[in-house]
Amino acid sequence: MIKGKVHKYGDNVDTDVIIPARYLNTTDPRELASHCMEDIDADFITNVSQGDIIVAEDNFGCGSSREHAPIAIKAAGVALVIANTFARIFYRNSLNIGLPILECPEAVAGTSAGDDLEVDLAAGRISNLTTGDTWQAKPFPAFMQNLIEVGGLINYTKSRLAQRT
């Protein structure tokens, strides 16, 4: 069960604002996290606590393919990102590095910055503890659910390689 405070953003939060390219000369998650969101929300990194939740509108994570973006969000302590929609490379990267994401426009519409959410990730149930509302997120397709269950793409690839030999 995830329980955390909401940091709310609008449409088209791109990977350049999630982690600006000027910091891509490192792959260290903690260093990346220290600059997460700074070009649109300079206070994010001081306000965020372990287990918090980012809630955003359309096309979250658009732009560059940098995996540093979900890595920075995860290392900043964010436990989950909820959005109306995700850009496809960010969606894939998040699954691959183990950053939980959910698509749920109703929850996005019914949530304000600073609200407390409780989320049952496996069931996709999102409860807003501040307002008392509850929503159901879109389930992952079976193939991706399987990818998550085996522990991500690296484990999946290991077993596929093993099948070949």
Partner: protein
């Protein structure tokens, strides 16, 4: 059952007769690629898998182009990881500084990408190769690391949107303007998860450079891939460049599309995309009030010899405005040399421009032309997000090479027609 070019390529690479949108498939890959920002993480992930070596040492391309020539010690360390990995696994297509170019211009020009291929790259602009009639899309580092081991990856077969461009292209209007206009019409998520197939008489009129520019920016509309059917121009390009046999796929006339968008090109003028999204597209005539501090001509979008010829044609015999820094970046060493041979480099330098060795550099605010607070650039690059070329309070306006050159001369956004 009729299929689109994208479906046919994905079917052929997954051992199927046909595939349908929404299906999840495993596809064999003809090439996988990474750069100095994405490959180091991919290499770390690859090593976790425990594979003895890469699936095919000739089908992994590693291009250190983003922060090179190394801009600082940390960047140098990242390139070193790539170089050592390339040596250890005897990777044929590692491109050292001096042979390197901007990846999405370099790999087609080197003949490593050919029509009919299925390709993934850990760079979002990997969709560029669709101009050759290949399926190519961007992924992250972990996907690249796994694909380096397996030579295959999973895809969800995308839904398809067809864009039909009709009418004769007006003067100064090219591939950049068509794609900026299109993104302006459908928005930065207008083709989310979809394949963008570009067709019509105006596409036939474009040279390969203009076609690469269009497919390059499919991602800026959220597209999974941009693609065009090969024609005689594609074959002429492939004939001289391709290092492998290739296959030509075309969409069936009755193939199904989620949506068909028709665009009349005959009344378009050059397009400028305003900060901070590529969808903020306006005609150049409505943009001339914007003064600029810098003009950048280059990148995987518009750093080809055809782009440099257009820019040089505008700049010949003229001087860069005293308030403007002009930076010209040929995308590859071959283009750099060709620019010298044709006298283009001389025109740029005579005009007061700086000509750089190939690099992505300023396009992503890395180096070689980073903006200070409050500064504005016009650029032939592909993104104008907040902070993209430097300070969070700087601005980037996207345009074609002729507009970027004319703007450098007049110190404000300008149409080349104004330079009479």
């Amino acid at each position: 059952m009729s299929q689109t070019i994208t479906q046919k390529i994905l079917a052929a690479h997954s051992g199927r007769q046909q595939v349908e949108p929404g299906e999840l498939i495993y596809a064999k890959l003809d090439l996988v690629l990474g750069n100095d920002i994405t490959a180091p993480i991919a290499i770390k992930e690859f090593e976790k898998i425990g594979a003895a070596t890469v699936f095919n040492k000739e089908r992994v391309a590693l291009v250190p182009d983003h922060s090179t020539p190394n801009k600082d010690i940390k960047s140098a360390e990242l390139v070193k990881i790539m170089r050592e990995f390339a040596r250890k696994h005897d990777i044929t297509n590692f491109f050292e500084i001096g042979k390197m170019g901007v990846e999405h211009t370099l790999l087609p020009d080197e003949g490593l990408v050919v029509p009919g291929d299925a390709i993934i790259g850990a760079d979002s602009h990997t969709c560029t190769y669709g101009a050759l009639g290949a399926f190519s899309t961007g992924v992250g580092s972990t996907d690249l690391g796994c694909a380096m081991a397996l030579g295959e990856t999973w895809f969800k077969v995308p839904e398809q949107i067809k864009f039909v461009y009709y009418g004769k292209l007006p003067k100064w209007v090219g591939g950049k303007d068509l794609i900026l206009y299109t993104i302006g019409q459908i928005g930065v998520d207008g083709a989310l998860y979809c394949s963008m197939e570009f067709t019509g008489e105006a596409i036939a009129e474009l040279d390969m450079a203009g076609r690469f520019t269009m497919c390059n920016m499919a991602i800026e509309a959220g597209g999974k891939n941009g693609i065009m059917e090969p024609d005689q121009k594609t074959l002429d390009y492939a004939k001289v460049r391709a290092r492998r046999d290739y296959t030509i796929y075309k969409s069936d006339p009755d193939a199904q599309y989620k949506q068909v968008v028709e665009i009349d090109c005959s009344k378009l003028e050059p397009i400028v995309s305003f900060p901070h999204l590529p969808e903020n597209a306006r005609p150049v005539s409505e943009s001339t009030h914007v003064t600029i501090d810098q003009s950048v001509i280059g990148s995987c979008t518009n750093g080809r010899i055809e782009d440099l010829r257009i820019a040089a044609g505008v700049l010949k015999g003229r001087k860069v405005h005293p308030n403007v820094r002009l930076i010209v970046i040929p995308a590859t060493q071959e283009i750099y040399m060709q620019s010298i041979k044709e006298g283009l480099t001389e025109i740029f330098v005579e005009a007061g421009g700086a000509v750089s060795t190939p690099t992505c550099g300023p396009c992503l605010g890395g180096h070689m032309g980073v903006l200070a607070e409050g500064e504005r650039a016009i650029a032939t690059t592909n993104r104008n997000f907040i902070g993209r070329m430097g300070h969070a309070k700087s601005e980037v306006y996207l345009a074609n090479p002729a507009v970027a050159a004319a703007s450098a001369v007049l110190g404000r956004i300008a149409s080349p027609e104004e330079l009479k």
